[in-house]
Point group: C3
């Protein structure tokens, strides 16, 4: 299309949207799947999805078919979801529970740790130990499951884990249950979905439900002009006050931003909600009467936790919403949203599902439409990279910086 | 598939259909969109579609997304339909009316002349004048709207305009209205649709409705054999007589053919209709009682106006039918047909829509089926270019000559 | 994807499944269609499909569109199904009967022998004899129709014909009729469908209906271990006894295996059926009271006849099932199954169609699902070629050897 796509990362113009092939070219998608999704820690789900021994969670990321299992010792393992005999896919369903993993084609049989236990009709001398399932690295960060397909995964996951645990631990993901899950096929490249998430510039025009609780001044907003500065000053005073109160009761809250300066890039901050709000709901009150973990205070704002390249999460006192993005084609992506509540909460008594999911169900649909409009435009001959607003799109720029840096590092290796 | 597709134009065999990749190869389609549709005057619609200030007409041609607007001074403007900020598509609908063009993503706002009027959150020093919509050349030829995406459009549009105005002006397109519009996805490359249009060899076998009014002897027909020569002689005598009569009343009629010898290739001729017919209808009588412009005579034959690369038009005393072809994929194309009548004609009183569209609605469907059969064949391994009939397919040959010449010129540039 | 796909055949590892691109890469599919399907004898149908003069059978194999006709002298002819004028597809339907072949576009007209009989509007000097339909080689092997697109088809078809005629002749295909035909789009590369057919390792786990009649010990099975050896010994003793009995009554039965050592590779063997069975039916009894040809004995086992690259056939005393595989895309294939009974058998009296097709209708669906699982796995990044069982997958290995050898020969030519 325009020569060697491998030359594109080097010429990326700082502060501007990416060139069109990054959003449209199947060759770039292959690079993304290989160098980004194949070599970094990718968020794939939450521990409550595989709570019991034998539970399996499959996830497909382009050519990567992965199964995460919980074994009888409650440890997590992850494997390529493909038989070592004739290459058949082993586990079809997203969620299942098995004693052993039996291939549906010729019944080769593996343990939950991936070891080949049985293979019929093989000759003497066949070494089962050389034909176990190929492993994938897996880590749980306070209940959020990440996998890495690289031989040697980025080592700085440990630093993120250490820093983030005080933020996430109070929400006690391990004792949550999945209240609802929703998959959307977004009509654009996965990076358009991520970039859309990394700014709230569009919120006031697009998200009437979300802006009932979310302050537009969060998420890296920097004011321009006297009125905006005064409004932002009031917001930041509120943030400072609440950060102090929350940290006093053991709920870590202050901003950490390693979006662009770590291989395992991430950012977090706990932000107050509008109208002295408790949760990201239509009436800004908690959606679930039973609070998470040992929490007793409803008004804990919303903790944002973002990871590069593919996830974001909102943690409130009463529920959690996690988002994972997976490329499908160069111009489509899967957005998987999961709502979590306390495992003892009872639907219809402690929470109503419609109320729980109302804000983000609506917001996802609005964002998907915007991603589609962006995708429709960036594929046209009239598109050229445009300027980000330093005031409100600085974190989008950090996503692009991280992405291009990681692509360059991968290409250089 | 067969080496460098860029070598194909040079080896085109005169008088024969094109080699298969011209009809099937996505690389050739890219060349077509770049060198043919990106550098020539392309017919996109008619002025009655954007009659009022603020009216917008969008058209998508492969990667080219264009919006034509009428501004408050009634001037036509055309732009790339993509925001200069994050690249979102600006206007979704084919037809709309707006005061200003507001991007749905972050509300960047443009005037109907394309100037950037508002962009929120941008820093001091941001120059709005550098971020207006990118312009596209636009011209109206007596109410037929043409756009050109090239920086410097072919200059010979002016010559076509001067030559054609006496032919088109009597039909007064500006005071017409759209009575009906129909889009067909044709199952073949856009050139198969054009080639099918450029001969009436297939008419007798394929178009029972159309041949009620159209003489097969028109459209470049040259007779072979005594019987055909006698029939053609009678036809041409009739043509000569009527051309004289029509030109006497100020209705230009004689053949002009610059299909293959101009960058802005075109051809025109006003032809009599069978059975002393008035219009291209099932009974060959006018479909609309209210004649176009100031016309008073029903029997004015049918004026054919063809433009390279993508349009043809039939002008009768009572109505106009225009056809535009746009590539979709290498093996599909959009055929857009628009029927126009006098703006004061009232449906149900002056004309019945079913009667108005009957001939070309049926003919389009028949042609689409033939295009599909050609497409099904040319993609097979048994296909090889076959000979055109010099007698009845000479204008198809001219289409191919123009196309290959323009491709060669573009590749050489 | 992984450099030059043309390097892949040379590095194929003996005894292992093929590398992923053989099952997924459109470039390999092109090689397959050119070098395998374009240069070998391909099974396309049976003579009862074109029993009468003027009968036509079309078959589409990737870019190859072929029509087989029976002419007035009852001879078979085959042609590229594309007009020599503008390249239109000539015959649309799979089965039709025509006096002459008339192009639907401009009515060029051909005889059943492919000669151009009529072309309108062509100038003096136009040589019809240079514009006949392009021929395709066609042969009938005892009623099974094979075509070859190569200029010089493999000469060893004659050897196969000589060897196989005694096996097939007793079933008298020419006097059969088609009782049912079924097309399945298999969700995998055509080679996955073939490989699945070339072993019965998966039968016990996948095919409850088929294993009522078929012995798993057939089809190249070699036992491992004392129990399997004893069971296999009993089976082979039965085979030897029955081969003797059948050959005594003129029904050739003994194994011939040229799967991997002939350009026109094939294999045959007549095998007994379980439970002293007569036919591949749910109750192992004949499905049709009227036996084939002059056969009088119901219990003739099932004759397997396999051809490289794309067919297999089961011949019983009462009916025949033939299978043809055609690539569609790199990851889909058409499986065409045809059930034949004696031409005088009457549905509802001599046979019930549901009973006739029950076993293979179910087995096809099961195999299609397995092909899908294999296809889902081999396209993943975790797939690597796995080891065939020498005991039960030796004939799959022979398919791979034949395929890779023929690809190498084609690439070298």
């Amino acid at each position: 299309m325009m020569g060697d796509v491998r030359a594109l990362p080097a010429r990326r113009k700082v502060g501007y949207t990416l060139e069109a092939p990054f959003y449209t070219d199947p060759e770039i998608l292959k690079l993304d799947l290989d160098l980004i999704f194949g070599r970094h820690w990718i968020f794939v789900g939450v521990e409550p999805e595989i709570a019991e021994p034998g539970d399996c969670l499959t996830v497909d990321i382009g050519p990567h078919a992965i199964v995460v299992t919980r074994d009888d010792d409650m440890a997590l393992n992850a494997f390529h979801n493909v038989c070592r005999h004739r290459g058949a896919r082993l586990i079809e369903e997203r969620h299942s529970n098995v004693g052993r993993v039996v291939c549906p084609y010729h019944q080769w049989t593996y343990g939950l740790d991936g070891a080949l236990l049985f293979a019929g009709h093989m000759p003497k001398g066949f070494d089962k130990s050389c034909h176990g399932l190929k492993t994938v690295h897996v880590r749980s960060l306070a209940g959020l499951i990440f996998v890495c397909l690289a031989d040697e995964p980025p080592a700085d996951f440990a630093a993120m884990e250490q820093a983030m645990t005080p933020y996430l631990a109070p929400h006690d993901i391990a004792h949550c249950k999945v209240a609802h899950s929703e998959d959307i096929i977004e009509p654009g490249n996965w990076k358009l979905t991520m970039e859309n998430n990394r700014e709230c510039y569009h919120c006031s025009g697009a998200h009437p439900e979300l802006t009932k609780s979310i302050f537009a001044e969060g998420f890296g907003f920097k004011p321009v002009g006297a009125a905006a500065e005064a409004s932002a000053a009031r917001f930041h005073a509120l943030v400072d006050t609440l950060h102090g109160e929350w940290e006093n009761i053991g709920v870590a809250s202050r901003e950490i931003d390693h979006l662009a300066d770590c291989v395992t890039g991430y950012r977090t901050e706990r932000l107050p909600l509008e109208d002295a709000g408790e949760s990201e709901t239509l009436d800004t009150r908690v959606a679930c009467r039973k609070l998470l973990g040992g929490l007793t205070q409803k008004r804990l704002g919303a903790l944002s936790f973002w990871t590069q390249p593919n996830s974001w999460h909102h943690f409130m006192s009463d529920h959690i919403v996690t988002f994972a993005v997976f490329p499908i084609t160069a111009e489509t992506a899967l957005l998987r949203t999961t709502w979590l509540v306390h495992q003892d909460a009872v639907e219809g008594i402690d929470y109503e599902k419609d109320n729980l999911i109302a804000v983000w169900h609506a917001t996802n649909a609005q964002d998907s439409s915007l991603v589609g409009k962006a995708s429709d435009g960036v594929r046209t001959s009239g598109y050229q990279p445009g300027p980000y607003s330093p005031d409100t799109e600085g974190l989008v720029e950090k996503f692009c910086v991280w992405y291009v840096d990681r692509l360059k590092a991968g290409l250089a290796a």
